[in-house]
């Protein structure tokens, strides 16, 4: 008998297996509007993935030599990771700034971040022609130390591990492993510090990948400061996503949330909106500095310039003012609308960088196929299914 088997008694393994089977059984009503929409999309997505892995990328996507990556990368990986930025921001606010007010949303934000990284970074596997090569940066087969992708690959891996460790005390509590829960709780602070550092680095690292594609990106979107812009936009994008998700969760999972947390929810929303307003203000001025420093005046009076202004004025400056107005006047409807606009703005920015303004001079533009859009929807729906399963079984929302 080896040490691991000796450490975990066989009756404990049997107990956990029975417990897990019990927990895997569905609860509640089956015929909900969300289930009716999501189940066919997930099934169709699985069929498309079957063809993708048996017949290759070309059978289901519009990718080509000119467009080696498309919607799966620009939406799932680029956008999903930016909007998961709320996890490291809230961890920083709670553990470093010691603002206890936000403690009640910590677990659910970490869970959202963890699932976003697992599903959206995991979606990278779909887009790689030879997905088994994803292990290369880890096992040392052509490490590629000088590549930004090497940095991003390691950061993704380590940060997903850090998020899992941060969430693991909740899993141990759910499984009734009290000693393990205490041990894992003791690791939290160190994990959080490592997690925040990794997250800041790879948010900017994703932007740094575009530095290699200078001739391909429209000059209005290209600058040497893309890494900085990606990092700052992940802060307010993450905060807006926390407001958006928190609003939905407080309605859908109302019975799981304690009375005290319900009452403090408005105060939390105001604090998050204030943070979003300030970071969006800084981001807007960064964009203005880059624009003026780069002397891009000639480019603004074109169709691309108008599109750029839609993004910068419509989805950065206006939501920034809306957040400020909403905080000052306690208008929660305005704050929620601003949060939705901000999330759309981050999505638009990442789509512009990776798809729309990428290869902007090419006559035959890339448009995602319906299969690509279906698989992306499938990834989002499966994530929501897993999120729902976890929050209805584990102690994620504060019961106070």
């Amino acid at each position: 008998m080896n040490t691991a088997t000796a450490a975990i008694p066989s009756n404990e393994v049997v107990r956990f297996a029975k417990f897990l089977l019990q927990e895997l059984k569905p609860r509640g009503k089956w015929l909900t509007p969300f289930n009716i929409i999501s189940i066919p999309v997930i099934l169709l997505g699985l069929v498309i993935l079957y063809f993708r892995f048996t017949l290759g990328l070309g059978s289901v996507t519009n990718l080509s030599q000119q467009y080696p990556f498309g919607f799966w990368i620009s939406f799932d990986v680029m956008t999903g990771v930016a909007l998961a930025g709320g996890a490291y921001v809230i961890c920083f606010v709670v553990y470093v700034l010691r603002l206890e007010k936000y403690h009640s949303i910590l677990k659910v934000t970490i869970l959202n971040g963890l699932l976003a990284y697992i599903f959206y970074s995991g979606a990278l596997l779909l887009d790689l022609g030879r997905p088994w090569h994803i292990i290369n940066p880890i096992i040392g087969n052509s490490f590629g130390y000088n590549s930004v992708l090497f940095l991003v690959a390691w950061h993704f891996l380590l940060y997903t591990g850090a998020l899992f460790l941060e969430f693991s005390p909740t899993i141990a509590e759910w499984a009734h492993w009290e000693r393990l829960r205490k041990f894992l709780s003791g690791l939290t602070l160190g994990t959080v510090i490592v997690g925040i550092t990794l997250s800041m680095l790879h948010q900017s690292g994703i932007g740094a990948m575009f530095l290699m594609a200078k001739p391909k990106i429209h000059p209005l979107w290209y600058s040497e400061y893309i890494p900085l812009l990606y990092f700052v936009s992940s802060i307010f994008g993450g905060l807006a996503m926390v407001i958006f998700e928190g609003t939905i969760s407080s309605k859908v999972f109302s019975s799981l949330i304690g009375q005290k947390t319900h009452h403090s929810h408005d105060d939390i929303i105001l604090g998050l909106a204030k943070g979003a307003a300030i970071t969006m203000f800084v981001y807007y001025f960064f964009l203005a500095f880059i624009f003026i420093h780069g002397e891009k005046w000639d480019l603004i009076n074109t169709r691309w310039g108008c599109w750029y202004l839609v993004e910068v004025i419509g989805f950065v400056l206006i939501p920034c003012f809306m957040f400020a107005y909403g905080v000052r006047n306690r208008r929660f409807g305005v704050i929620r609308t601003a949060a939705i606009m901000t999330v759309l703005g981050v999505i638009l920015n990442r789509q512009n960088m990776a798809l729309i303004a990428f290869n902007w001079y090419v006559p035959n533009k890339y448009y995602p196929s319906w299969e690509e859009i279906t698989v992306t929807l499938m990834v989002v729906f499966v994530e929501i299914w897993v999120f729902r399963w976890v929050v209805t079984r584990m102690s994620v929302f504060s019961k106070e």
Binding site: T247, K274, F289, I292, W297, R330
Partner: protein, 59 residues
């Protein structure tokens, strides 16, 4: 005027070439940043009493 001597010319300063606009933008950023923080930290709406809450509030 003798030939070959340096002649001083006065020309209009082009704010786009001298980066003067960037300095003006920096100043406006600092001023507006202070104004934004003051606005966000202000007392806010006076009728935020429990009886007159925003109907979209969840608490």
């Amino acid at each position: 005027m003798t030939s070959g001597a340096m002649v001083e010319y006065y020309s209009y300063v082009n704010i786009f070439e001298t980066k003067g606009l960037a300095y003006l933008l920096l100043l406006s950023f600092l001023v507006m940043g202070v104004l934004l923080i003051r606005y966000l930290s202000g007392p806010g709406r006076k009728d935020a009493a429990p009886g007159k809450k925003d109907p979209t509030s969840s608490g």
